[in-house]
Amino acid sequence: MREAVLSIKQLAVGVENKQILHDIDLEIRSGETHVLFGPNGSGKSTLLMAIMGFPRYQISKGNIFFKGRDITMLPLDERARLGIGMSFQRPPVVRGVKTRDMVAACLKGQGNEKNIGRLAEKADLVDFLDRETNYGFSGGEIKRSEMMQLLAQRPELSLLDEPESGVDLVNIALIGELINELLEKNRRIRDRKHAGLIITHTGHILDYVNASTGYVMLDGRIICQGDPHEILATIKEKGYEECAKCVK
């Protein structure tokens, strides 16, 4: 069996003393892509932030393992250096810091002009390299910039928070391509080393990116796990209300 890149056991997470996530269990193996569905406010982003290690998200119970190592107490930047990366739903504007600097930081020692230029071409962001990070970017530009940075970072586990939200159809196709490259979808499954966990509210990204497992999160709990397309079809047909009935 392939190695579990991410393994979450009985995780409970709170923000500012308010409990958001309860008893989360989840496992992603090397080369797999999983999708997390759920209505707004269900706790999807909280789960990604907690896995990434943002200090505001306090873990009160349970553990997070990355490639077998317990990272529950590990700081954010150490997790990033271990091989966990994240594309933000709404990243902050960082005035003065150019997009080029962000890509260079992600490339670590490989941040030469050629590599940066190549990635910018892929993400159709050549003209954005000398602009301040996320300053005045459209929705699509932000998402492409996030993907460009992740492609530079090459994490073994990518956490993608709503990669398609606020993006037009043309951009979704390109973002889909970038995700597929990040998750090595062009390689045989057994040869893939990179895994992904994608949050999606609408499920549109599934038209472009294949995923093997889907989950539904409601009120901070994972209430359903199965084939992502089947789950999406049910949500589209009956809404999250139907999922809620499963819990009752």
């Binding site: 902050p92 005035r95 003065g96 810091v97 600097d101 930081a105």
Partner: protein, 411 residues
């Protein structure tokens, strides 16, 4: 050393203003500083200056060992000009006393861009002036490399009183780096510098000034700029080292149509430093434009960051951007952006922000694998990086180097 004679009316005005406090900044007791001291020998070859002095000058952009990338050099130590030389035709550089002897017409420019009785500091420069530099670009001449000037303070309790005149004749292009620094470590000193710029029709001046003082030096520059039709004046000011008290508020008047003025200031206030720095643009002619950008960081000192744009003619445009970062300690940043419009059809705007580094930004960079200190340094570096439109690449690189040299101290 010969003190410059001034006309009686100038002297009378100056005498009347000798007790007049400045509009801004802490008052300085001028009587505690001497205005004359030991003279320094003239150096035909400035590379013969002491290694320590040359190193300090290099830190403010003044290169003496290899000045092949400079079109001229002027150095004044305390109140003695010790060197002036030219490497390019079409540029003149010399001590103001020499220029006054050489050119009768120079008196037409004397106290025309700066008002002599502005305050006790301008008055004191008039009454106790010891040179300064005269830099002139002849009509149509275009300097490839910048002219460099250094005002160097070595004597404790001395008041360095300079009066600089800069003239860019019609259609000329002139780039200047002025580095002001001191050999003093702990002792107090005073620098009073009047600078009058005249940017003639179609001329362009870039003026990059880097200040490295010490925690006991007080500084009161007084600068006025007159920009004629289609003229461009670009000012870059960098102060990243401790200083006891610095107050300045240069004023540019755009008097000819389509004149352009840009100011960029990078200010860092260490604990004990008090800075009151502004930039003022008066748009008096149709189609004139200005942009004022300041970046202020305090690590414990106090900064008042001022900006003022006044629109007095149709179709003028001005924008003022003032951002302050409180890095640590109990420093204060007080941003005072002001706009004044006197008729319809003008377009003036400003944005100002003061705060600490947003944790959200630090964490964003940490999520890319940077440590907290690396992330903070990246953000501070970005904050201090002002891209200056119109500045030649070489000068941009020099400016970047000056900022990078000092930003290590911040982290």
């Amino acid at each position: 050393m010969r003190e410059i004679e001034s006309s009686k009316s100038f002297r009378d005005k100056a005498k009347a203003a000798l007790a007049k406090p400045a509009a801004f900044g802490k008052d300085i007791d001028l009587s505690s500083f001497a205005s004359s001291g030991t003279e320094h020998p003239y150096r035909a070859d400035p590379s013969e200056l002491a290694t320590a002095a040359k190193k300090q000058m290099l830190d403010v952009g003044v290169m003496l060992d290899d000045s092949s990338q400079r079109s001229g050099t002027f150095i004044q130590m305390d109140n003695t000009p010790v060197h002036s030389s030219i490497r390019q035709e079409g540029i003149e550089i010399m001590a103001t006393s020499q220029a006054l002897e050489k050119y009768d017409w120079l008196s037409d420019y004397w106290w025309q861009a700066v008002v002599i009785d502005t305050d006790k500091y301008t008055a004191s420069v008039e009454l106790n002036q010891h040179d300064g530099y005269f830099i002139r670009a002849l009509p149509g001449s275009r300097s490839i490399y910048p002219v460099q000037a250094c005002l160097y303070l070595t004597r404790a309790q001395l008041s360095q009183n300079v009066h600089n005149i800069i003239i860019a004749e019609e259609g000329s292009e002139l780039h200047i780096i002025t580095g002001c620094t001191t050999a003093l470590n702990e002792e107090s000193g005073l620098h009073l510098g009047v600078s009058e710029f005249y940017v003639k029709r179609g001329a362009k001046v870039t003026f990059t000034m880097i200040h490295n003082w010490n925690p006991e030096v007080a500084v009161r520059p007084r600068t006025g700029i007159v920009v004629e039709q289609d003229g461009i004046f670009l000012s870059n000011y960098v102060l990243m080292k401790p200083v006891r008290s610095l107050q300045m508020y240069p004023t540019a008047k755009c008097v000819g149509e389509n004149a352009v003025v840009r100011y960029n200031s990078i200010l860092v206030a260490a604990p004990g430093s008090s800075l009151d720095v502004g930039s003022r643009a008066i748009l008096n002619a149709k189609g004139t434009k200005t942009e004022i950008v300041s970046r202020a960081i305090t690590t414990g000192g106090d900064i008042v960051a001022r900006g003022y744009i006044e629109g007095n003619a149709p179709d003028v445009k001005g924008h003022l951007e003032c951002r302050g970062l409180i890095l640590q300690g109990a420093g204060t940043i007080h941003a005072i952006p002001e706009l004044k419009g006197n008729l319809a059809g003008i377009d003036l705007s400003h944005e100002a922000a003061v705060g600490k580094i947003a944790e959200e930004q630090v964490e964003y960079l940490m999520a890319r694998g940077l440590s907290r200190s690396e992330a903070t340094a990246t953000i501070v570096r970005g904050f201090l990086r002002v891209d200056i439109e119109g500045l030649p690449p070489m000068l941009s690189a020099e400016l970047r180097k000056a900022v990078e040299t000092s930003e290590k101290d911040l982290m």
